[in-house]
Symmetry: C2
């Protein structure tokens, strides 16, 4: 039996693959695990049946056998434990890859998401330009550190790992704004991630959902 | 040989145990693993020797044998894998506890840290009150969901786990403002965590560093 994940019935990202089912789909593709998807509406996500799976009423969730998980980072880590392809076999290298997973979600992502939140909730405010500039400086601070560490390496620590998968997923949120382009090695790193066949398959799968919703 | 972690030589939190070495110390205490601490200054954190350990120039780091890790979440997860006490033996229950670790750091913490960032960088701005109110509403949305899920349970999912350790560490950041008190079951949950002997030992250890720095 395939694991089942949830995804938006009608993602606000217009098929760009920015919703949090995307890294989970990508992880399944990297390890060669097929999966099923159950689509949920925005209203449905807040209903008791879904909140029983995801306490914060969001997507994605993961169900397999009697197990239910939430949080894309935790689901990617779980998938990486099911089959080889996303975490090194060596225990130390594995722990280092997991450091990068947490770094992606708790150090690099917050100012990047803050930029989106400010755009959605403050762009009509008189203070928006000043706020946006301050957020961009915080993002640059993270990107500068990341760029220095990556240098001219292909991936963050040896072979491609779940750490790269999550970091590239986070950086994609700023790929269409000038910010990422200020760090050419990071832009190239994101492009390498997106060129992976597993990424392409995952992207096409979520894009098909967008096309179907568009009708 | 004990693992060695890094911590602030002079923490800005005045001995409150809010720096990110605290959850790592707590994790060591929960599993009964002794550890050494190397103190670093704010200037030292940005020097090449430290950045080689932590790409973002922060604390804590973890060193043991030839292994170096960064990110408090990843370090807590690694410690939880060394000895029993922080993750269930059952694979499914373990994956669920890890969902709570990611939820603490990537879903609950961001608006709580945003509140602190706004206080430090925007409290003199004309718009601060409006911003602070918006952030508090985002925090309440998370706390409301978390409070409903916890209900009258002692911990988030069965026995105390690394998920509770990180969630309680995050909620401590708002324990002295009215916000947390609006959710009595969450306030009681934080109090239960702080009453654990392992928490007390970790707190005293970091407090001793503060007292020594004060001179």
């Amino acid at each position: 039996m395939n694991p089942t994940i949830t995804a938006f019935e009608n993602s606000p990202d217009e098929g760009e693959g920015m919703a949090r089912d995307m890294p989970v789909r990508w992880a399944f593709e990297e390890v060669g695990q097929s999966y099923d998807v159950r689509l949920v509406s925005f209203a449905g996500m807040k209903q008791p049946a879904h909140v029983a799976l995801h306490p914060f009423g969001q997507i994605p969730t993961y169900e397999a056998g009697g197990l239910t998980l939430f949080e894309s980072g935790a689901i990617v880590l779980h998938i990486a434990g099911l089959r080889p392809g996303l975490l090194p076999a060596d225990a130390g290298a594995r722990a280092r890859a997991i450091s990068w997973m947490f770094a992606a979600l708790s150090t690099v992502e917050p100012p990047i998401v803050d930029r989106e939140v400010a755009w959605f909730t403050e762009r009509d405010k008189s203070w928006y330009d000043e706020r946006a500039a301050a957020i961009e400086e915080r993002i640059r601070s993270r990107l500068g550190d990341l760029s220095r560490r990556l240098g001219d390496a292909e991936w963050l620590d040896g072979d491609f790992s779940a750490g790269d998968l999550l970091m590239i997923s986070v950086l994609r949120r700023i790929e269409d704004v000038p910010l990422l382009g200020e760090y050419p090695n990071l832009a190239a790193y994101v492009a390498r991630g997106k060129a992976r066949p597993a990424f392409r398959r995952a992207f096409e799968a979520q894009y098909a959902v967008f096309l179907a919703a568009k009708g």
